[in-house]
């Protein structure tokens, strides 16, 4: 029996070879979701999603892929686009830029997608944008909140920018926290660029930055920082330290009595996913400013419907949250849908021209519209405060907030 199994004959070799070459050709991290209707006016329109399904930020990438599946299914169920169905191609960028470039190339060269949406970190966007936009001649939508300054043609951003996250938030922090700010930060591009903007807004509103300091991305002991915060009598910690450091950092601040003495924590990427990093008491009163919180569902029927639909289709750990780019993914796909409808075709220049001023009347957290010529998105912004392990909305923008980019 065992000798027979190990014996390599021609037929077995061929079948193994065929299997292996199929696996290599399609790639282990590739998924194709085909539409199941036959009455189409033309071949399917191909939507490519390149996101981090595995690796440290896999929780965010999976949520984005889920949102894409949900939106594509919804569009297909209501008759597709231009009478054609959508076909969804999902590639894993694996939280690793070199893997990502190869997989995104597959989307462009093998699958010939009409749109790529994805990338979560700025380093990922920078790694794959050239493959998509310049060499790939394809439209690219980047859905995550980020540091701004991305003005590449054919690259549209649907997540919040520093202006959207700071302009109304920082005056609120000064009023509800105090004037003395500390900016502890992880040492990479997003905190550096965001802090430049945040500092400007803090100083323009009569606040002061007591210290701004950068840490290695994997630092997990912050005793020196906590001591600096306490001994400088800081009122507001405007945090851009990321996981894994942020959990121990907030815990050490709590243990040192920062919250008890009336200090205010704030962190603009904090959403429902990050609430569980600490125990509720350790981040009581933490303020965040994003385009969507689940706490909006009681007041906004559309958000409530959307959120319920997502949770029904994808129950489990991958939450529909703004910090994971899930809301940006929804907004991006719906704006693109509106643009394709207006353009009446799917060539890159036509869709880009329509996407430049695309609008959606409903979305997570409210309507959204592209600022013509800027390739960034106006949206409503909300300030929420953590109370007992949940968010409570404490302030909202009067209308759509301008991204002030490009």
């Amino acid at each position: 029996m065992s000798s027979e199994r190990s014996h390599l004959n021609r037929r077995r070799f061929l079948s193994n070879f065929a299997f292996a070459s199929t696996a290599i050709a399609t790639g282990v991290g590739s998924w194709v979701v085909r539409p199941d209707w036959a009455n189409a006016a033309g071949p399917p329109i191909k939507v490519g999603i390149a996101t981090d399904l595995t690796g440290p930020i896999g929780y965010a990438g999976n949520a984005d892929a889920n949102v894409a599946k949900m939106v594509v299914k919804e569009i297909n169920d209501s008759g597709g686009l231009l009478g054609r169905p959508l076909e969804l191609f999902i590639e894993d960028t694996a939280s690793n830029e070199s893997v990502a470039v190869g997989n995104v190339r597959k989307l462009i060269q093998r699958d010939k997608v009409d749109l790529v949406l994805g990338g979560i970190t700025s380093s990922m966007r920078n790694a794959i944008k050239d493959v998509i936009v310049a060499r790939g001649k394809t439209l690219y939508i980047y859905p995550q909140l980020y540091e701004g300054k991305e003005c590449t043609p054919y690259l549209f951003c649907t997540g919040p920018t520093p202006a959207q996250q700071c302009d109304e938030f920082i005056p609120w922090l000064i009023k509800n926290g105090g004037k003395r700010f500390a900016l502890p930060s992880a040492n990479y591009v997003w905190p550096h660029t965001l802090n430049v903007y945040a500092r400007k807004v803090i100083e323009a509103n009569g606040g002061e930055v007591v210290f701004e300091e950068y840490y290695p991305l994997d630092q997990i002991d912050f005793s020196a920082t906590v001591n600096r915060v306490i001994s400088n009598k800081v009122d507001v910690v405007f945090n851009t330290v990321i996981p894994p450091g942020v959990g121990p950092f907030f815990k050490q601040l709590y243990e040192a009595g920062f919250l008890k003495n009336g200090g205010r924590l704030s962190c603009v990427y904090y959403d429902e996913n990050t609430l569980n990093i600490n125990q509720a008491a350790e981040i009581e009163g933490l303020a965040s400013c994003l385009d969507y919180f689940k706490a909006l569902t009681p007041e906004d029927p559309f958000s409530a419907k959307l959120h319920a639909a997502y949770e029904k289709q994808f129950p489990g750990t991958f939450l529909f949250a703004a910090g994971s780019a899930a809301t940006g993914t929804y907004r991006g796909l719906k704006l693109w849908e509106a643009a394709v409808k207006e353009a009446g075709k799917i060539d890159r220049d036509g869709v880009a021209a329509a996407l430049d001023h695309a609008k959606i009347a409903e979305g997570p957290g409210g309507p959204a519209e592209m600022v013509p010529g800027k390739r960034h998105c106006k949206m409503k912004m909300y300030t929420a405060v953590a109370k007992g392990g949940n968010y409570e909305i404490v302030a909202r923008s009067a209308g759509l907030v301008d991204p002030k980019e490009c």
Partner: protein, 285 residues
Amino acid sequence: MDNLFVALFEILSFGAIVVLVVLGLGIIASMMGIFNFAQGEFVLLGAYVTYIVHSSGLPVWIGMAAAPFVVGALGFVLERSIVRRFYAAPIVAMLGTYALGLIIREIVRGLIGGLYLSVPEPLGGSVNIGTMHFSSWRLVIILITALVMIGSYLLLARTAFGLRIRASLENPALARASGISTNAIYGATFAFGAALAGLAGALIVPVFSLFADLGLRFLIQGFVAVMVGGVGSFAGPVAGAGVIGTLAAALPWIIPPVIADVLVFVLAIIFIKFRPQGLISGKGV
């Protein structure tokens, strides 16, 4: 003055955490002669066991008590089934254990959905003296680290079992000729090292929260600590861990943290260049 006490306490507590994590690694490296690259994942498993017990509704301390036994048992099974095949080739052992670690890490990442999860400490809050706040749980960690260190030392230096371990390390052939089953000893030593890692994971998870790369963070520091301390003895890695942990916690108080992070390694490399045998050379306890 207050500031100085707070600084000393924080530095001591982080030093204790590093010692606790490195202890198991050092025992396996010194007593068996192989570097276990899966040690960080044993730490992670200890943390995960604690989380599982906590999320099933039982008190956290039960999880902490169970973690070393669960991880120790798993370590024993892995040693019997996989690691023992690598003793003849220490380099291959590094790769093999690294692969094991990778598998464990990614499985845990899948199980916790790649999220960061908090686990409460059994003893929360802080001890306040005047305006100074000392985290109670960090005090407990310092205490337990000291107890575990003393316990491990007594086990290796004062018991018949410790004598057998040292005999198997120094001269395996003679040990076997004298009727000691080196096979069984290796299995037990590996399990003991794994159990210590499990305990470390259980104790530090309330401080750092549970995430898949928890062990990885300490692995590099652990190896530098073993190199600086010197392989071969029990005291070497412990001393090395004390030095590295203290440096890593102390330097950010005086210089920018980004530079401090690199400086720890630069200092370690310079030290090893001039004293390749480490702080404490020679075999034994």
